[in-house]
C-alpha cells in the first residue's frame, strides 16, 4: 500500500466512518447480538450465583446476629469458615458428613462401575441369550427415581425398632433386621450402587461396541492369550470410557440427596448433600453454602485429576457413543447359561423386585401386613376417609395430586423444550464460532452447572432470587424459578446435544440460504432447526425424563403453589405416609417409563429416517 493510502487510513473522518460502519454491521448480525445476550444472561444465571454464594460465606448476613453479636450485615468476616472448619460443631456439620460422603460415594461408585462394566461386557461382547429384553430391564433402576430404591429398601428392611411398621423381612422371618441393615451406610451404598450401575453400564457398553473385534482377533492370531488381549487391546481402547464413567458416577453419588436422606436420617447418618439441605432449611445459610462449595470443589478436583490422567480435555469422556462395528462375539461356552442365570438374577433384584415391592406396598391397607387379605385400592382410588392416612384421598382421586401431576408435566415439558432450544443456539454458536473467544467462553460457562450438585445449585438460587435485585424480580416461590433452574441445570447436556446436531449439518447448507438472502432467524428456523430435530428431540426427551424425577435440584425452591409429584412424595415420606409416598413414586415411575419408551420408539423409527435423509 502506498504512503498516501496509509495517510488516508488515519484521517479522522475515515476512522469515524469505519467505526460507524463496523458497529452497524455488528449490530445487524444476529449471531453476534445473540452471543452477547447469552453471555450476559448465562453469566448472570451461573457465574454470578457462584460468586455470590462464595461471597456470602465470607460476609455477615441478615439473621447472623444470633451467632455473634458483632455481626454487621454485609461486612466481611471469617466467622463462617472458622466455625465450619474448626468450631465446636465442625465435627458434626462438616467432617463427619464429608467422611460419610466420601465413603458412600466412593464405595457406591466402585460397585456400580464394576457391576456396570461386567454386565456391559456380557451384554455387548458375548453370545449371551436374551439381550433384547435384558438391556432395557437392566437400565430400569436408573430410570426410576433414586428415591424409589430407597423406599423399596425401607419397605423391605424397616422394623418397629427403628421406627415405623415391620418391613417384608420381619414379616417373613419374624425377626427384626439389624439396624445397620435397615439404615445408614450399608443400605445407602447398596441402593446407590443399584441406582447408578446402569449409568456405568450404558457408557461402557457404548464404548465396547465401538471396539472393532478385528483388533482383538488380530492380536489373538499373533498368539496372545484371551487375558493378554483384554489387558493390552480392549482395556486401553475402552479405558478412557471406563475412567469417564467412574468420574461421572462418583460425581453423581456424592451429590445424591434423597436416597441418603431417607436411609440415613433415622440413624443420624449425614452426607454433605443431606447436611446442606438441613442447614439451609434451618436457616444456617452460610454453612449450607460452605458445604455446597466443598461439594463443588470435590467434583472439580476429581474431574481435573481424571482429565490429567487422560491427558486430554474434559470433553473426551462426556459422551462416548457412535456406530458399532460388526463385532464378533466371544463364545461363553459352558458358562453361557450360568452367566445368563446370574444376569437375570441381577436384573430381578435390581429392577423388577424393588418396583414390584413398591407397587405391592401401595395396595396394603395397613402397612406391615403383607397378606393378601390386607389388599386394597384405597390409596389409588379411595375417597377421603378420616380413619385412613389422615383423610388423604387416593392418589388418582386427589385433585391436589392431579394438579401436582399437571405441574410436573408442565415443568418437564417447558424446561426440556427451553433447555434444548437454548442448548441448540449455544451449540450453534460454539460450533460455528470456530473456537473464537466468545464461543469458547459460552461453551465453558454452559458446562459449569455440570460441576454443581443439584442441591448446591438450589442453595445458590435460593440466595440469588430470594429478593428483588435491580430489574430482576424476586422469583422465589414462582413456577418460573423452578423452570429456570431446570433449564440451566440441563444446559451442559443440551448444549452438547445441540453442538453435536449442528456439527452434522454441513455449513454449506446454511451458507446457501445466507446467499439467498435468508436472515439468521430464518436460517435457524428453516435450515438448522429442521435438520437438527433428530438429535434435539432425543436430547429433549432425555431431559424431560430427568426433570420429571428431579428432586434435589428443586426441593429447596418448592413452595406449596409450585409442588410437583416428587416433592409431594418427599413430604409424604417425611410424614411416614408410606403407601401414598410409594403410590406417587410409582406414578412418576410410570410416567418416566412412558417417556423412555417414547425415546426408544423414536430412536428406532421416525428420527432414524430423518437422520438418514441428512446426506452430506
Amino acid at each position: 500500500m502506498s504512503n498516501s493510502a496509509m495517510e488516508s487510513h488515519r484521517h479522522p473522518r475515515v476512522i469515524l466512518e469505519r467505526w460507524f460502519n463496523q458497529t452497524k454491521t455488528l449490530l445487524m448480525t444476529p449471531q453476534i447480538v445473540i452471543s452477547g445476550i447469552l453471555m450476559v444472561v448465562l453469566t448472570y444465571l451461573i457465574v454470578v450465583p457462584l460468586l455470590q454464594m462464595t461471597w456470602r460465606t465470607l460476609t455477615w448476613g441478615e439473621g447472623d446476629r444470633r451467632f455473634s453479636r458483632q455481626a454487621v450485615t454485609g461486612e466481611m468476616t471469617g466467622f463462617h469458615w472458622e466455625q465450619a472448619v474448626s468450631g465446636p460443631t465442625s465435627e458434626a456439620f462438616l467432617y463427619e458428613p464429608l467422611i460419610n460422603t466420601m465413603i458412600t460415594g466412593t464405595l457406591a461408585a466402585v460397585f456400580a462401575l464394576s457391576l456396570g462394566a461386567g454386565l456391559a461386557w456380557l451384554v455387548t461382547r458375548t453370545d449371551m441369550p436374551g439381550k433384547g429384553w435384558l438391556r432395557p430391564t437392566l437400565i430400569l433402576p436408573y430410570i426410576v427415581p433414586s428415591f424409589a430404591l430407597a423406599l423399596a429398601w425401607e419397605t423391605l428392611f424397616k422394623s418397629p425398632q427403628t421406627g415405623g411398621q415391620p418391613g417384608l423381612f420381619q414379616y417373613l422371618f419374624d425377626v427384626a433386621p439389624p439396624t445397620w441393615l435397615s439404615f445408614g451406610a450399608v443400605p445407602i451404598v447398596i441402593t446407590m450402587s443399584i441406582h447408578y450401575f446402569p449409568f456405568a453400564f450404558l457408557m461402557i457398553s457404548g464404548a465396547l461396541s465401538t471396539v472393532d473385534s478385528q483388533l482383538e482377533e488380530c492380536a489373538e492370531l499373533m498368539g496372545a492369550s484371551r487375558w493378554t488381549v483384554l489387558r493390552k487391546i480392549t482395556f486401553p481402547i475402552v479405558g478412557p470410557a471406563i475412567l469417564g464413567a467412574a468420574v461421572l458416577t462418583f460425581g453423581k453419588t456424592i451429590g445424591t440427596f434423597a436416597l441418603p436422606y431417607l436411609l440415613g436420617r433415622p440413624v443420624e447418618y449425614q452426607t454433605l448433600a443431606t447436611m446442606l439441605f438441613s442447614s439451609v432449611s434451618l436457616g444456617f445459610t452460610a454453612l449450607g453454602y460452605i458445604l455446597s462449595l466443598v461439594l463443588i470443589v470435590i467434583t472439580v478436583i476429581v474431574i481435573w485429576i481424571s482429565a490429567r490422567l487422560l491427558g486430554g480435555n474434559l470433553r473426551r469422556f462426556e459422551t462416548i457413543g457412535g456406530k458399532g462395528f460388526k463385532a464378533n462375539l466371544t463364545r461363553l461356552g459352558v458358562w453361557k447359561w450360568p452367566l445368563f442365570g446370574m444376569v437375570c438374577f441381577i436384573a430381578f433384584i435390581a429392577a423388577i423386585f424393588p418396583i414390584g415391592l413398591l407397587g405391592y406396598q401401595t395396595l396394603m391397607m395397613v402397612d406391615g401386613n403383607y397378606g393378601f387379605d390386607n389388599l386394597t385400592l384405597h390409596y389409588w382410588l379411595g375417597r377421603s376417609n378420616p380413619d385412613i392416612a389422615r383423610g388423604e384421598p387416593g392418589v388418582l382421586h386427589n385433585t391436589v395430586i392431579l394438579g401436582d401431576t399437571w405441574n410436573t408435566l408442565r415443568l418437564a415439558f417447558l424446561a426440556s423444550i427451553l433447555s434444548s432450544l437454548v442448548g441448540l443456539i449455544i451449540g450453534y454458536i460454539v460450533v460455528r464460532g470456530r473456537a473464537g473467544l466468545v464461543s469458547r467462553t459460552l461453551d465453558q460457562i454452559s458446562f459449569l452447572p455440570f460441576l454443581i450438585p443439584g442441591i448446591a445449585f438450589a442453595a445458590m438460587y435460593l440466595g440469588m432470587f430470594a429478593v428483588q435485585r435491580g430489574p430482576i424480580p424476586a422469583l422465589y416461590g414462582t413456577f418460573a424459578l423452578i423452570v429456570l433452574i431446570c433449564v440451566v441445570n440441563r444446559l451442559p447436556y443440551s448444549t452438547r446435544t445441540g453442538a453435536a446436531a449442528v456439527t452434522q449439518i454441513g455449513q454449506e447448507l446454511e451458507e446457501a440460504a445466507e446467499l439467498q438472502g435468508a436472515s439468521w432467524v430464518r436460517r435457524f428456523w428453516r435450515v438448522i432447526l429442521p435438520l437438527s430435530t433428530g438429535g434435539v428431540v432425543a436430547g429433549m426427551l432425555v431431559s424431560f425424563i430427568g426433570i420429571m424425577r428431579e428432586l434435589s435440584l428443586i426441593i429447596l425452591l418448592i413452595t406449596p403453589s409450585t409442588r410437583v409429584l416428587m416433592t409431594v412424595g418427599f413430604r409424604y415420606a417425611e410424614e411416614d405416609q408410606t403407601q401414598l409416598t410409594n403410590a406417587l413414586v410409582m406414578l412418576v415411575t410410570v410416567l418416566t417409563l412412558l417417556g423412555q419408551a417414547l425415546v426408544w420408539q423414536l430412536g428406532k423409527g421416525r428420527l432414524r429416517r430423518l437422520k438418514d435423509r441428512q446426506i452430506d
Binding site: E511, A513, A518, L531
Partner: protein, 386 residues
Amino acid sequence: MGATIEIRNLTKRYGDVLALDDLSLTVHPGEFLVLLGPSGCGKTTLLRSLSGLETPDEGEIVIDDRVLFSSERGIRVAPGLRQIGMVFQSYALWPHMKVKDNIGFGLRVQKFPQSEIEARVEKILNELSMDGLGERYPSELSGGQQQRIALARLIATKPPVFLMDEPLSNLDARLRLDMRAELKRFHYDSDATTVFVTHDQTEAMTMASQIVIMNEGRIQQTAAPLDIYRHPANLFVAEFIGMPRINLLNAELDADAGSPVARISDFIVPLAWKPPVTELVVAARPEDVTLLTAPDEKALEFRVRALLPSGPELIIQLTRGDQTVVVRETRQMDLAMDQTVWIQFDSTALNLYDRRDGTMLRPEAGLPGRTTGPETTEGLAQQPQV
C-alpha cells in the same frame, strides 16, 4: 447482463498464513473466469470473500460501482444483499425440502407471490429438462440431477454474478465431461459474470474465457486459456499447466555466436531473438519436441526410457544422463524400449525464462494476449529439474 467485479488489494490472513496477498483483479461483464491453482493457493478464499461468507482483512470489493467490502471504510455488505448466486462443491441442497422448495427458497425470501414462485420454478425445471422432479427430495435424485437442481436454484433469483466452487468435483468422470458442456451452455444462456474455482486444469482450459492462475495467495497469470498454455508467464505456471508436464532445461546464452543460441550442455538450440540475460531456462511443450529415429547433427541423442501409448497419441519418456525429456507424438511410430533416438526443438515455440526469478523473457515487440503477471516473482524461481 453480467456485472463488473473489481477486487482491489485484497489480503486475508489465517494466523501466520497469507491466504490472499494484496490481490487485485477485474472480472469483465459476462466473462467466465476460472480461478485455478493447487490446493491452498487461496482460490476458494477469494471466492468466499466475494460472496461475503469470508471477511478479508484488507482491501476492497466493488461490483458495478457498489462497494460490497472496504476495510478502510469498514463496509461489509451481508452475503444475502450482494446479489450473488453460488453453487457449492457439495451442492448444499437442503435435504428436508422438496426440489421445488429448494429452487423457490430465494424467491420466497424476497417475498415473491406464491403463484409467481411456482411459475418460475416450473419454467426453470423445464429449461433444465427436469420436469416432474419438483415434488422429489434431493436424496431421491442422481448426482447429475442434484447438480442441475443446484444450478436451478442459482438462476431462480437471476443474480448478475455466479460463483461456483468446484461444482463438478463430486461427479464421476464421464458425467463430469457432460456437465462441462452443459455448464458452458448454461453460462452462455444466462450471460452472468461467472467466477469458477477448480484445481482441475482440463476443466479450466475447456471452460474458461479467462483463467487466473494462483499460488500462495497471489495471482501468477491472468490470460485466455490458450495464451496461458502457449506463453506461461513464469516457471510456476509453465509447470502447473499442461499434461504431461512441460520440459524445462537449464541453458546458457552463447553470446559469441553470430545469431543467438542457447547452449544446453553440449547441445545448441537456435533462438528466434536475443534474450537480455545469459542464465536461461528453456521450456518446450512435449508436442514441440520433434523425435528422429536417425542421427542428425542438429539433434541431441537420447535413450527411450518408457513408452506410454494412449490411443490417439504416444507419450515417450527419454533420458540422457540425469536429464529427462518427454515427447508427445501423434504420428504412428515403431519404437522399442532403450532404443536410441534424437530430438530437435521447434525454436519458434520455445519459451525462455530468467533462471534467477523464473519470469518469462519476451522480445521487445511483445507477444499476443492480455497477459499480466506479478511485478516480482522472487521466491518462486524454482530450479528446473535438469
